[in-house]
């Protein structure tokens, strides 16, 4: 297990290097770094200064080393729009995004697993069919359009919930949270539901498929024959066995929730890093875009690593050995 984690860790570091190389090639070789990294309002003297500071007059490999060194030191350039270090801006916005993503994931899990379990246990009931039809709808509905319709319904027509923003926050461990105020919840609910919809459909389908498969297994028959109540058989035996793929998917999908929050944050004006990315793209604030890219790559590598390790910890059958990641 220890060796496996170390090997996966090493692979992750290699992956980070590869991705940083790709980002570097994208920014420095395909695009023109002078346009990309220097504010269009800069004068000749400023341009000359930054060119020298970034070493743009040096050979490409040397530029990459400089870029790498600065990135490792946490220096990913300064935002044109805010004139603060880009990395600082992103880290400031990260808790809001994480809060939204976690809330969405929680909604998907709390609703998705029981609904999927029910649909798997009683596949022919009307309710199960309605659940499955709903999950197809959830797969097909474009996320951004659902967001607009939620705003139309809850904010414009009914006037129950605010249409945008984050609401009141309280500080805990030096981070702002909206989970502890009613106003925060009122602001959080719609975007979280919007973001959860796709994952909810996915979890329903996954749980249903797992349940239908598990219910036919011998251990279920045995547990029933032993005289256990159905409730206990499902709650203990079935649920435990279908949890492995579900936990994996939850882990892997968390990254995609963070990515999709770009859309939801833009619609609901949620002040997270996704909205920051779109705003930065729109005002051509490229250092922030580059910094976002590196941060999100690091986040993904970390999530994938975590899922892999968790997976092998959960399921003794998949103690992957010797498989280079």
């Amino acid at each position: 297990m220890g060796a496996y984690i170390i090997r996966r860790l090493a692979a992750s570091v290699v992956l980070l290097f590869v991705m940083s190389l790709l980002v570097f090639v994208g920014v420095y070789a395909i695009g023109n770094p002078v346009d990309l990294l220097i504010s269009p309002e800069a004068d000749q003297k400023e341009i000359a200064r930054v060119v020298a500071a970034l070493g743009l007059d040096k050979p490409l490999w040397e530029q990459y080393l400089i870029f790498l060194k600065q990135a490792l030191a946490g220096d990913l350039g300064r935002s044109f729009a805010f004139n603060t270090p880009a990395i600082e801006l992103i880290l400031q916005r990260m808790p809001a995004t994480m809060e939204l993503a976690l809330a969405a994931m929680a909604i998907a899990i709390v609703l998705g697993i029981p609904l999927g379990l029910y649909a798997g246990l009683k596949p022919d009931s009307v309710l199960a069919k309605a659940i499955m039809a709903g999950s197809i709808l959830g797969f097909s509905l474009p996320t951004f359009w659902v967001g607009l319709m939620l705003i139309m319904l809850f904010a414009v027509q009914l006037g129950w919930l605010p249409a945008s923003g984050r609401g009141a926050t309280t500080e805990l461990f030096g981070v702002q949270w909206s989970l502890f105020t009613l106003d925060g919840w009122r602001h959080l609910f719609m975007p979280a539901l919007n973001l959860a919809l796709f994952k909810l459909s996915l979890l329903i389908r996954l749980t249903r498929a797992g349940t239908r498969e598990a219910i036919l297994q011998d251990y279920v028959k045995f547990a029933r024959a032993k005289g256990l109540r159905m409730r206990r058989v499902i709650g203990l035996h079935v649920l435990k066995n279908i949890m492995i793929p579900i936990v994996t998917v939850i882990g892997l999908e968390f990254g995609s929730v963070v990515a999709f929050s770009i859309v939801t944050e833009t619609i609901f004006a949620w002040p997270g890093m996704g909205k920051l990315l779109i705003d930065s793209i729109n005002v051509l604030d490229r250092p922030v875009v580059v910094a976002y890219l590196l941060v999100i790559v690091a986040l993904f590598v970390f999530i994938n690593l975590l899922v892999d390790v968790l997976y092998s910890a959960l399921d003794p059958r998949v103690r992957v050995t010797g498989a280079p990641a």
Binding site: P142, W145, I151, V289
Partner: protein
Amino acid sequence: MNVSDALIERAPAAAHVEAPLRRFVAMYAESRIAVVALVVLVGILLCAVSAPLISPQNPYDLAQIDILDARLPPGEKSAGGMTFVLGSDDQGRDMLSAIFYGLRISLGVGIAATVAAVGLGLGFGLIAAYAGGRVDALIMRVVDLQLSFPAILIALVLLAVVGQGVDKIIIALITVQWAYYARTVRSSALVERGKDYVEAARCLRLSPARILFRHILPNCLPPLIVVATVQVAHAIALEATLSFLGLGLPITQPSLGLLISNGFSYLLSGKYWISFYPGIALLMTIMSINLVADQLRDVLNPRLSR
């Protein structure tokens, strides 16, 4: 085998060609929802193809639109006496016409990108499966790497670097899609490669290219068709999302996503129709494609065949 033998062999084979197709149709028709979805999908395609013929007005001909007709609710009449069945947008364009034209662009971009990505993925997948070894490892490592990132992120970043345009969004959609096809084709090609008919073709000293394209490829197509159908829906949804975010198509090529984005600013004042109806069109398109793909998967899946 002499000529007459070959003829005798061929005759029953020709008679058999009809039967699988008929069986395929019969199996597809077993699900009533799938048939309805197919009819809806064909209807949508017809609307998109014949948009200039069936639209009440050409929404991009400035002579036909009047700014005084802007933001009229559904059912209202224009100054020229035409009825806006689905209302009009902020420039006085008929929403129904704008949706027909938008469908054209959305479907066109989605299908074009998918076809190109299938071609690319097919090539890489076949090469990986047939060559094996280092080539295979390299291609699959790139595929794995790409698939570990969500499509929307890759497309977004790509567009942020290269800029807007129909060609650029198609490139972005190809980039995010090819890996799915490469993986699908590779896995089915690997299975096919070990089968006897490939061995037989090798014994006949057929060229590797001939074995790949005439023997292995046709047998890899069913799973590829299913994945490609689902992916068309994904491509259309992704394009709409990117256009909504203002990073996809330029304002001169308004796809459904751009129409929805247009209406966003009027939503808070209760003018729902500018965003609502293009969204319904998009939903119907994606849903009908998904349902058709679902049924295709069941019909084409050999494990489920009875």
